[in-house]
């Protein structure tokens, strides 16, 4: 004779009958009562969840539906991790929480390079700011990254203080390149043909004021200190529709500048690099970058499309993707910003376009 059962084994018994438990139930009123309760919960849930099943024929996807979805995912996979503008077009109006988290993440990533492991130049000490002038790939395990920025990660980042994004606008479609230049405050890249859409982003500043409270880990010396991220103006010329990753995109942004107030940038960076929201491997790579006040780390998916460092029109650049046509992206570091060319094109084509842009 076995001992009395708990709700776990009784629940499993409902699905996979256990002869020994059956024998026990015959002579045990307590277990029989518990079984009835467990079965009632299970039955109730089964009935309620059965209502959620789509009606027959309602969800049947045709082969063409599946192939279309596969094509969409393939193009997103090729582009999504490295074209923020494409992502913002695909998902208009991200939630404020997500935007805050992403702004925080961007600040963390950029600040990751903002201090060398040992010492700084005299110039850097005087100019307590980061100005993006050089691109450097850092590999990111996207699964770990996504895991870090679940709801908990978002809350942890938001808990560091107050983030003011009121000065930052969403990218907007404008009438033409001239209007984009006026809005973004930069010169547009040279275009080979008239684009189907022109998107522009006005420059703006995101302000993160740290607040030491409720055990959020912010050290007392950073309480009230602020990090100001000057998000540059940007222009994107898009070929093809805007409701999915574009056939081609030629874009340009001004320089990214990050400033500190109320505390040295180094102190803020050191603190942010202790945050567990960043995968350890990424933190290690960021810490190891030498030219800390001018290097923009470019996240490269660990298992994503291949990439190589190249020269385009005499400027250093990073090219992602291959000649499959599934997707490619070229980031060219200019003297005063970054030029981007990408889309559902081959990397050879993207490099040609980037050379002319």
């Amino acid at each position: 004779m076995i001992d009395c059962a708990d709700s776990t084994s009784l629940r499993a018994h409902l699905d996979h009958a256990d002869a020994a438990l059956d024998a026990h139930l015959d002579g045990c009123a307590a277990c029989t009562g518990l079984l009835r309760s467990v079965a009632a919960d299970a039955g109730f849930t089964r009935q309620a969840l059965a209502l959620l099943e789509p009606a027959a024929g309602d969800t049947e996807l045709t082969d063409a539906d599946v192939e279309a979805a596969l094509a969409a995912v393939r193009s997103q996979a090729a582009l999504a991790p490295v074209i923020p503008l494409a992502a913002s077009l695909r998902r208009r109006g991200p939630s404020l929480r997500r935007r805050v988290a992403l702004a925080g993440a961007a600040a963390v990533v950029v600040l990751g390079v903002a201090v060398t492991p040992a010492g700084h130049s005299a110039v850097a000490q005087v100019l307590d700011a980061f100005r993006g002038q050089r691109l450097q790939p850092v590999t990111v395990d996207m699964a770990a990254w996504a895991g870090s920025f679940d709801d908990k990660g978002v809350q942890a980042m938001a808990a560091l203080g107050e983030i003011d994004m009121s000065d930052l606008s969403e990218p907007a479609e404008v009438a033409d390149v001239a209007a984009a230049e006026a809005l973004a405050g930069i010169t547009a890249p040279t275009l080979g043909a008239a684009p189907d859409h022109v998107i522009a982003l006005a420059p703006g500043t995101v302000r993160l004021v740290f607040a030491a409270r409720n055990g959020n880990g912010v050290p007392a010396e950073l309480d009230g200190a602020a990090l100001l991220v000057d998000v540059p103006g940007a222009i994107g010329a898009i070929y093809g529709p805007t409701d999915r990753p574009p056939e081609a995109l030629v874009g340009r942004s001004g320089p990214l500048v990050i400033r500190a107030e109320g505390a040295p940038l180094e102190s803020i960076r050191s603190f942010l690099l202790t945050r567990q929201e960043l995968p350890a491997d990424l933190r290690s790579q960021l810490s190891a970058i030498g030219d800390w006040r001018s290097t923009i780390p470019v996240p490269v998916p660990l298992d994503g499309p291949g990439w190589k460092e190249v020269k385009v029109a005499g400027r250093p650049a990073i090219a992602f993707g291959d000649d499959s046509g599934l997707g490619a992206l070229v980031l060219r570091q200019d003297a005063n910003g970054v030029t981007v060319v990408g889309g559902r094109i081959s990397v050879t084509r993207a490099l040609q376009m980037a050379a002319r842009a």
Binding site: L51, V66, A146
Partner: protein, 170 residues
């Protein structure tokens, strides 16, 4: 680790996508949103080390991801007040031309989804997978728990689901 080959990805996609859309549809109701959730899960697979594992593990992982993604979407629809969502939807339908029975069923569906949305993630995932016909073993693989623990999740989940559902009915 080598990236997931395009051929392999296509094969995994075709085998799993319709099932994932079905799972997401249970949680979300809306067909388009369910497809978005399923595509999100497939996109995540491309950069996950899981992609190199056996078919069973890939299938289980995708089930968990699409369920979590769908539950997150469900929660974010009206995180602050799921009860208001249920009541509001019911009031809106009462004023519509839907026949009475359909209104009742739609209310029940809303309550079911809202109740799922307040459960701990593992419990909700276990319930959804079990009641979509997955075995204890598949659920255990999807959730990364011992097979013997599935009964715990189901028993606790069903109890919590019923309470939440009844609470929303009051």
């Amino acid at each position: 680790m080598a990236p997931l080959s395009d051929d392999r990805f296509g094969e995994v996609f075709r085998r799993n996508y319709p099932r994932l859309v079905g799972l997401a549809r249970r949680v979300l109701g809306d067909a388009g949103e369910a497809e978005d959730a399923a595509q999100e899960a497939m996109l995540a697979l491309r950069t996950s080390p899981v992609a190199e594992r056996g078919d069973d593990e890939v299938t289980a992982w995708l089930s968990r991801v699409v369920t979590n993604t769908s539950l997150n979407r469900l929660r974010s629809r009206r995180r602050a007040d799921v009860r208001a969502q249920v009541v509001g939807a019911r009031d809106a339908r009462t004023l519509s031309d839907e026949p009475g029975d359909e209104v009742v069923v739609a209310d029940e569906r809303d309550r079911g989804r809202a109740a799922l949305g307040v459960l701990p993630e593992r419990q909700a995932t276990a319930l959804l997978l079990r009641h979509a016909g997955h075995s204890y073993r598949e659920i255990a693989t999807a959730l990364g728990v011992a097979e013997g623990s599935v009964g715990v999740l189901l028993a606790r989940g069903e109890r919590a689901f019923r309470r939440a559902h009844e609470e929303m009915t009051r």
